[in-house]
């Protein structure tokens, strides 16, 4: 395939060409991370494919296929469907408020009969798409700071508050941070970003004391001093740190992590899988996996920067920001640097919904890469 070949009209729309335009380095990195996840899940189950490792691989295969399919979808289709996806997400969030399943004291799931849907996951994609679409039609100076920014603020604020009310603090923080990242990428004045960050920091104490539920407040207080009650609410953080620390430089060896194998580690196959990795493969293994994540983020951001359309740029960079936030928040939580919030390590943790969301996100990134030369001319960022 030569550059000249691509200049022929219609050539770029041929599926074979599109397929070859997918960033296979990025795809390989994603596969490596998911593969690592499978290996860890195999180890945690006591060197067994059941119940998690095989399942994880099958899901990943399906999601990978979905990513490839989504990569073929024309960027204009993404553009057009941005607001509808957001709207569907919002409706579902409202539906959860009214008729959602209550599990573990929180309303997060919508039971559709055949599948239990978590609308906040749809919203993670929907929000990025909607913001990208809005900014697509916004001039640079207005994106910097203007009254029109009430639109993105509302786009971010409404779902964030709904999710926080479920209550799902982790996802709410993630949504807000993702939205803010997109606004910043679009050119929001750094002074405003700074002011927002400061006021958010200032808002933490009163929110913690008066707004949060008891268990949420306890998690945060526990995070501040986990060793105060190592067998009570500090147990998770303490055991996670023990798992990490006892891994040392090279780890205890595959399948030999006592903390995870003997159930001392909580949520070892989901939120705390990174601690298992750290225990069995040590510092070297952890840094290698973190390097894979960083490479993935860097490549995805580079893809964003070469897109010809502003929607493509913001969309792909936005989902990359979500991905990066997952990694950083989960990492910080596992290492005892952040309170325990239900944020998994993407691709590594067992769990279908998050994997689907992340892979749809990479589908968008790949679509942006495949369609990087396509221009989206239609209109300004109106709400239609």
């Amino acid at each position: 395939m030569t550059a000249g070949g691509l200049t022929r009209p219609g050539e770029r729309n041929r599926l074979v060409v599109k397929f070859s335009e997918i960033d296979w380095t990025l795809a390989l990195l994603i596969c490596l991370i998911a593969g690592m996840g499978s290996i860890m899940l195999y180890s945690i189950a006591g060197l067994s494919w059941a119940p998690w490792a095989a399942n994880h691989l099958v899901r990943f295969g399906l999601c990978f296929a979905l990513m490839v399919v989504l990569a073929m979808v024309d960027l204009r289709v993404w553009f057009v469907s941005a607001y509808p996806v957001y709207a569907i997400g919002l409706v579902l969030l409202l539906a959860v408020e009214v008729v959602g399943d209550v599990s573990l004291g929180a309303q997060r799931w919508l039971n559709l009969g055949f599948v239990r849907l978590q609308p906040s996951e749809i919203m993670k994609i929907g929000l990025v798409l909607a913001l990208a679409r809005f900014y697509h039609g916004l001039p640079a100076d207005e994106a910097r700071f203007s009254w029109r920014l009430f639109v993105p603020v509302a786009l971010i604020g409404v779902p964030t508050l709904l999710v926080a009310h479920q209550p799902d603090l982790g996802t709410a923080v993630l949504l807000a941070a993702t939205g803010l990242s997109v606004m910043m990428l679009a050119g929001l004045s750094l002074r405003v970003v700074g002011a927002l960050a400061l006021s958010a920091l200032a808002a933490i104490p009163p929110v913690v004391m008066f707004v949060l539920h008891d268990y949420q407040r306890n998690r945060i207080l526990t995070f501040l001093n986990p060793e105060a009650d190592p067998s009570g609410s500090g147990y998770h953080i303490m055991q996670s740190k023990i798992a990490l620390g006892s891994g040392g430089l090279l780890g205890k060896g595959f399948g030999l992590g006592s903390q995870s194998q003997l159930d001392f580690l909580p949520e070892k196959h989901t939120d705390f899988i990174f601690a298992t990795l750290a225990e069995e493969f040590g510092f070297v293994g952890c840094v290698s996996v973190l390097a894979l994540y960083l490479a993935t983020i860097t490549i995805a951001l580079r893809i964003a920067s070469v897109s010809h359309s502003h929607f493509g740029r913001l969309g792909s960079a936005g989902v990359t920001a979500t991905f990066a936030l997952y990694v950083l928040i989960n990492g910080a939580m596992v290492m005892g640097l952040a309170p325990v919030v239900g944020v998994p390590m993407p691709m590594l943790s067992f769990g279908g919904t998050v994997m689907l969301t992340v892979m749809i996100g990479f589908g968008l990134v790949q679509a942006v890469r495949v369609h990087r030369y396509s221009e989206i001319t239609s209109g300004r960022g109106t709400l239609v």
Partner: protein, 668 residues
């Protein structure tokens, strides 16, 4: 394929801003991941050791098996403390499903009182997860088998065989050996930051008194442990026999005591409140250290009930007090050899110089009395020791002053504690002008010298010190130290005779010893009749003492001194006796104190003789000397109301007792 670099080609303003912001975001993500890596380095590289330990503590569980406690033997290997099998029922909290049902089932097999049940349920809440709880102990073999047979129906209940401490001689050694009892919170605190995990083991006993306490760590041994891997719920995943730690049995402790002598001392002292210490002069070994009344140490192992303890604690004669070490008494006339030696060493007193005893002397503003109404007449030093003449020692003490006496007394071990391996010694007090000044900020009054000279006043000593004093007098040269613990785990402790000599002239010591020989063997000596051993040529030298515990008023004295028997127990005199034998080749020294017992010669000396006989008869050298043991001379019972001391009948005036020398005594 060439793509525009996002740095240099700004297609439009929006893209330019975006590219800068993407770069910023990539930087933030990179920085974040770098920070995470840093945190990982901190946890996994810098703090690795700490978390490794915590991880191992999570993963492995050591089930402790306590070691057999070391034996305590006497000098001939007679067992003084040992262990017996103890069948117990234990309850494991983590294997228990329904406490009530289990206890119901259990109560059909063994007796289980309702209040004990409640106590168990309470214990269950407070006990750490993996520590078993003792439900009952000392089961019979039938009960034990019954539980073992029904074990499958009793989840969380195990019957096991542990060891319990037992003291075959009950009370005979209770004060020396002490006892073991349940580990208290205070014991745990005393064990420091990381107490031996065996202390938490149910039914584990820790040494509380005497040798059991002092040598607790040596006797305890090292606990064994079976290593098991457990999961977060405490379930055993795997046993690891290679990780097992073998229990190290406690060390055997050999005491210098002789069971026969000790038992004889207890028999002889009977229900009296008293103490007896016998010492081997050649080695410093304490072959007897008895205190009466005693208590059964075995009761303490199981745990005393409140009333039992109160009965022991409230009894007037103080069974719980070790009178051999912790009871200090005025030594009375047993101290006179010290005064005599101090006088000789001072060079101010000629031993042949005679002092006339009229039975009383005026000093200061009052009369000081001799114990013998009417007096002893003219006395030289030898006579004064033999007769225990108070007037002679009043005068002598007055002449030489208190400090010379104190110096000699201290050289003989009074006023000090000895390192015998167990705690609880009270050093008593040797007064001096300096002590008086420092303690009361007052000068020494000459009247105090009078009391001091006859072993009363502020002076006090315990039975061990008096035995050491007697031993050093007998031994003559060495500042002999007592030894109670002969060996620990086969390693001999240093002998007591590796001590410097006494800085006193031999002829002075001989003179004092001759006086003490006369006390016991001259027919006019205060303890003549009470001191006849009946062991042929083997003779004893001694000194009696009768220490007042009250002031006898002039009016009382005028009306005739009241006999001890008419006084309430706690106002009676202390009876004391020190002795060594054979006096021409000393091997054993002793002290006997009978608290509120009455006269030293009437009460303490006969008891001392009986105890000394056993010690001498057990000695091979002494037995060889006794060719034909003679029967004991008849001892007339002391009639009530007789004089306090020196019940020896006045010899016929024409019979002059033969002079005594150290080489041989003409037996009457």
């Amino acid at each position: 394929m060439s793509e525009p670099s996002f740095f240099f080609s700004e297609v439009n303003e929006r893209q330019g801003v975006f590219n800068r912001r993407v770069f910023l975001m990539g930087g933030l993500a990179g920085g974040g991941i770098l920070a995470l890596s840093g945190r990982l380095a901190q946890l996994q590289l810098l703090e690795f050791d700490r978390y490794k330990v915590m991880s191992t503590a999570n993963q492995f569980n050591f089930r402790i098996s306590p070691p057999p406690r070391g034996l305590i033997l006497d000098r001939f290997g007679v067992i003084l403390a040992t262990n017996r099998p103890n069948f117990r029922v234990l309850m494991m909290r983590d294997e228990l499903h329904d406490v009530g049902a289990t206890l119901d089932a259990l109560s059909q097999l063994i007796p289980l009182a309702p209040d004990r049940r409640q106590q168990l349920v309470r214990e269950l809440v407070h006990t750490p997860r993996l520590v078993p709880i003792e439900v009952a102990e000392d089961l019979t073999w039938e009960e034990f088998s019954r539980i073992n047979v029904r074990a499958p129906e009793l989840p969380g209940i195990t019957a096991d065989m542990a060891e319990a401490r037992v003291y075959p001689y009950g009370g005979a050694f209770a004060h020396v050996i002490g006892y073991v009892a349940k580990v208290s919170d205070r014991d745990l605190l005393a064990a420091g930051k990381s107490p031996d995990p065996v202390l938490h083991h149910p039914g584990f006993r820790i040494g509380k008194q005497g040798v059991e306490k002092a040598l607790d760590l040596a006797l305890r041994g090292k606990a064994g442990a079976s290593k098991t891997e457990v999961d977060a719920q405490g379930r055993v995943i795997r046993k690891d026999p290679e990780g097992d730690v073998q229990a190290v049995p406690g060390k055997t402790v050999v005491l210098s005591l002789d069971t026969d002598v000790q038992n004889r001392a207890l028999e002889v002292l009977g229900t009296e409140s008293g103490a007896c210490v016998v010492m081997d002069i050649r080695t410093g070994d304490l072959i007897c250290m008895a205190s009466t009344p005693s208590f059964d140490a075995n009761r303490f192992v199981k745990g005393l009930t409140g009333p039992e303890y109160r009965a022991l604690a409230d009894y007037e004669r103080r069974p719980l007090l070790d009178k051999a070490l912790s009871g200090t008494y005025p030594p009375g006339s047993t101290f006179k050899p010290m005064t005599a030696l101090a006088a000789l060493e001072s060079g101010m007193v000629d031993p042949e110089e005679r002092i006339n005893c009229t039975g009383q002397m005026w000093f200061g503003n009052r009369f000081f009395h001799c114990w013998k109404r009417g007096g002893h007449g003219s006395q030289n030093m030898h006579d004064a020791i033999k007769n225990s003449c108070d007037i002679y020692f009043y005068q002598t003490a007055l002449k030489i002053g208190p400090d010379r006496i104190a110096e000699v007394a201290k050289a003989f071990g009074l006023g000090q504690s000895f390192d015998i391996g167990i705690s609880g010694q009270k050093p008593g007090l040797v007064p001096s002008t300096r002590w008086k000044r420092e303690r009361y900020n007052q000068p020494w009054y000459p009247g105090e010298s009078l009391s001091f000279g006859i072993g009363q006043g502020a002076l006090s000593a315990n039975a061990l010190q008096l035995a050491v004093m007697a031993a050093r007098l007998a031994n003559g040269k060495r500042a002999l130290n007592p030894r109670l613990i002969k060996s620990i785990g086969g390693v001999e402790t240093p002998r007591g005779d590796a001590a410097p000599g006494l800085p006193f002239q031999t002829q002075h010591m001989d003179l004092v010893r001759a006086g003490m020989a006369a006390v016991a063997n001259d027919v006019t000596g205060t303890a003549y009749r009470a001191s006849q051993l009946g062991l042929g040529p083997v003779l004893m030298a001694g000194k009696t003492g009768t220490a007042q515990v009250r002031v006898i008023s002039a009016a009382e004295r005028a009306g005739g001194v009241r006999s001890n028997d008419s006084l309430p127990w706690r106002l009676r005199d202390h009876a004391l006796f020190i002795a060594f034998a054979p006096y021409d080749d000393p091997k054993y020294a002793m002290s006997v104190i009978v608290q509120h017992g009455g006269g030293g010669a009437a009460v303490a000396a006969p008891k001392g003789r009986e105890i000394m006989r056993v010690a001498l008869l057990k000695d091979a050298d002494v037995r060889a000397r006794i060719t034909s043991p003679m029967p004991l001379p008849e001892v007339a019972p002391v009639a009530p109301g007789e004089e306090q001391e020196g019940e020896a009948p006045a010899p016929p005036s024409e019979v002059v007792p033969p002079p005594l020398s150290l080489q041989g005594v003409v037996r009457p």
